[in-house]
């Protein structure tokens, strides 16, 4: 079998030279994401907002509008219905009820009574105001802790410029991911937070691989101009970056297409994360090093623990 080289043996793409385009593009993307978040907000699921979610399977499809009228007359506030995967499956969302936990239970019972016999309950979830507040708080803490943890690790393994570069790329990915949720109106729930953390992990993973090469080249070629050196580092690792993104993408796309309706939002977020994470580690994390005053002189303690600096070849 003759191996296939997807990426040319020695790609010589000029990434650093186009950094202005990347920066403008990324800045626009981030601004757009923040704008969308501010104007449209997120479609918080019941995890973070409280409320009721019921998935039912009807014996026949096409009852959506009928059910909608029936359920909206119950006096349980806003009821949203949508088909879920197939015409017979319907997802019912009922807004958080006024009056604490007990009121939520009453509403669940009302909806179930209204639906009557002959429907199959596939899923019933209800999150009270107390738990949703806690879940939200825990989610925020988890994201912040993960960012800090990752940052601390990068700081420890590289010099601070790299840590800062990585965190800029990371914030870029997280903010644009939130932006895509604001744009599409996809439900933002607990698994979205999990997806964001995974995206953070993946994006950093990609960034670290390129940074490792930058660090290696900084030791090898002490006199090479930084832009050239950074560009070479990206090109040398480009093949790997593309390969890994593709294999991950293959797995995620099959999850998105075949993994079922429940997990579709989650896999969508991950797919987006792989795209944006790959882009940011090449086009944001590395070029940004140019502006962070990377130390070219004597090796500082941050780099190369356990490795001897190699002499320039």
């Amino acid at each position: 079998m003759k191996p296939l080289n997807l990426v040319p043996i020695k790609p010589d793409l000029n990434f650093i030279g186009r950094k202005r385009i990347f920066f403008i593009f990324s800045a626009l993307l981030v601004a757009l994401a923040i704008g969308l978040f501010a104007s449209r907000g997120l479609n918080f699921g019941i995890d973070f907002q409280g409320g009721i979610l019921i998935e039912v399977r009807m014996s026949e499809g096409g009852k959506l509008s009928e059910m909608r009228t029936e359920l909206s007359d119950l006096g349980v506030g806003e009821v949203a219905l949508q088909e879920f995967g197939q015409p017979t499956d319907i997802l019912i969302r009922v807004q958080k009820q006024e009056g604490g936990e007990k009121a939520q239970q009453v509403a669940v019972e009302k909806v179930k009574t209204a639906l009557g016999e002959g429907v199959q309950y596939r899923r019933t979830e209800f999150v009270g105001p107390q738990v949703s507040r806690e879940l939200f708080r825990d989610g925020v803490i988890a994201v912040i802790l993960a960012m800090v943890g990752i940052l601390a690790y990068i700081w420890f393994r590289f010099e601070w410029q790299f840590g800062l570069g990585a965190i800029i790329a990371l914030l870029h990915d997280v903010i644009t991911t939130i932006g895509i949720f604001a744009l599409t109106g996809l439900e933002f729930n607990l698994s979205t937070v999990a997806a964001i953390l995974t995206i953070a992990g993946y994006s950093i993973n990609d960034t670290v691989v390129v940074y490792d090469r930058v660090r290696e080249n900084l030791r090898k070629y002490k006199t090479m101009p930084l832009p050239e050196l950074l560009n070479n580092s990206i090109n040398e690792t480009l093949s790997r970056t593309v390969m890994t993104s593709l294999t991950t993408m293959l797995a995620l796309v099959s999850l998105y297409v075949l993994g079922g309706e429940v997990i579709r939002g989650f896999s969508f977020a991950l797919i987006w994360g792989v795209v944006i994470g790959t882009y940011s580690s090449i086009c944001v994390a590395v070029p940004v090093l140019l502006h962070l005053n990377v130390n070219r002189g004597v090796q500082t303690s941050g780099g190369g623990r356990g490795e001897q600096p190699e002499p320039a070849e």
């Binding site: 239970q105 019933t124 009270g128 993960a146 943890g149 797995a251 999850l255 075949l258």
Partner: protein, 526 residues
Amino acid sequence: MVYFSKWKVLFVLGVVALGLIFAAPNLFSEKVADAVPDFLPHEQVNLGLDLQGGSHLLLEVDVKSVLRERLTAVVESARAVLRRERIRYSGLGVRGDTVSVSIREAAKVENARQLILAAQQNMQLAVAGNQIILSFSEDAIKEQARAAVEQSIEIVRRRIDETGTREPTIQQQGDDRILLQLPGVDDPERVKRLLGRTAKMTFHLLDNNGSVEEARRGRVPPGAMLLPAEASSRSQGQPSHYLVRRRVAVGGDRLVDSQPSFDSQTNAPVVNFRFDTLGAKKFGDITARNVGRPFAVVLDKEVITAPVIREPILGGSGQISGNFTTQQAQELALLLRAGALPAPLTILEERTVGPGLGADSIAAGKFASIVGMVLVVIFMAISYGLFGLFADVALIANMILILAALSVLQATLTLPGIAGIVLTIGMAVDANVLVFERIREEVRAGRTPISAIDAGYSRAITTIIDANLTTLIASTILFFFGSGPIKGFAVTLTIGIITSLFTAIMLTRLLVVAWLRRKRPTELPL
């Protein structure tokens, strides 16, 4: 990097073999796996409620109500003491977390203090002028709450056991919460109904110092309380409210058994009950002294029935005939048998998945994993030829190891957990990709195959570890902060990272080295 000691070879192969053995039970149905002799592994992967179907309920014990109830009891006892000793008082009642009372005559304050203290030895007592203030210490309140939660768990367990749910998990969470996991329960309405009642049953004599009409206008005589009649009996032309004595004649905690039954004459559903010895004696005394007067059976502050005592009931057993349906009689009997909750429970969160959705999720997850895996395997083989196949072997071994680890650790596999596995399939080959790309570079730099492979592995390894540790940081944090299904995602992701490091670095390298030694190639097919 291109040398493996015999021991290392054995170790790598041994780990993979163990993985195979521990993953094997998952190939069979549950029955077959259970029939495997004990010395062989027979643990299967533990499926989360979102995959096997079931109900997850998070309950909160209203510990504040325990305190309120205790304080109310203190008020009643203080009232009794002061009346008996003919000490005049005013403003006796619960104020926040304390009980306070003003003694009319200053000279009797000290006397009252002594009397109350004797009755409430575990309380703190403060005197301010004519006012006596009683409160529980911080520790006592904590202890009460702790005991209430503990007892609630016990009662919940008994009630759930009565419903015949198999393998329920009931555990405390935080200070005042109970997590309930009921596999196989797809309509928890009955369970919720059972848990929604404290089922505190008490027998009271009716109060005859005032009238219901006056009480409804707000003039409730001291020592009495106005209680509504239970909903279903209200429609039957019975009074809607009763004025009953606060004092509990006999408490429901004296019940030893209760069974649903049918009245021998009317054939209506009833609940038969039996008191313990002390309860029987009390009940006997009271009914003997009050023949011809009505008494009330009170359940959760509602009067179920208020029959007139026709004769002393001395045997310690009796019958409650409310306006029950058969189902209501059954549930009431069950609740009385299992005992009263010390405090009301509130359902904070419910997540129920029906068996249909669970099975669909498993099928979809399996299918997606297999397709994803096949695609990655093909892609690796196309991209790296023979080396790609080595990586594919490692990928398959990785899946086996993940399955084995999940089975051995008895970690719970959830739907997001399956997503974690699929993600691992995609990312697991990353380590190999890093190495292979590095080897390609080294070959291009003019190295011989052996030296290129050696350099490829030793240079890529720091990158691999750096890259994986960052993901590991994220997944660990997810594990500690995630709840339920998300935790399942963190578990598979974490296990996947660790096993993929092993298979990619050790197993693939072993295969590459073995091949290198046999073929002694002059050129690498990379």
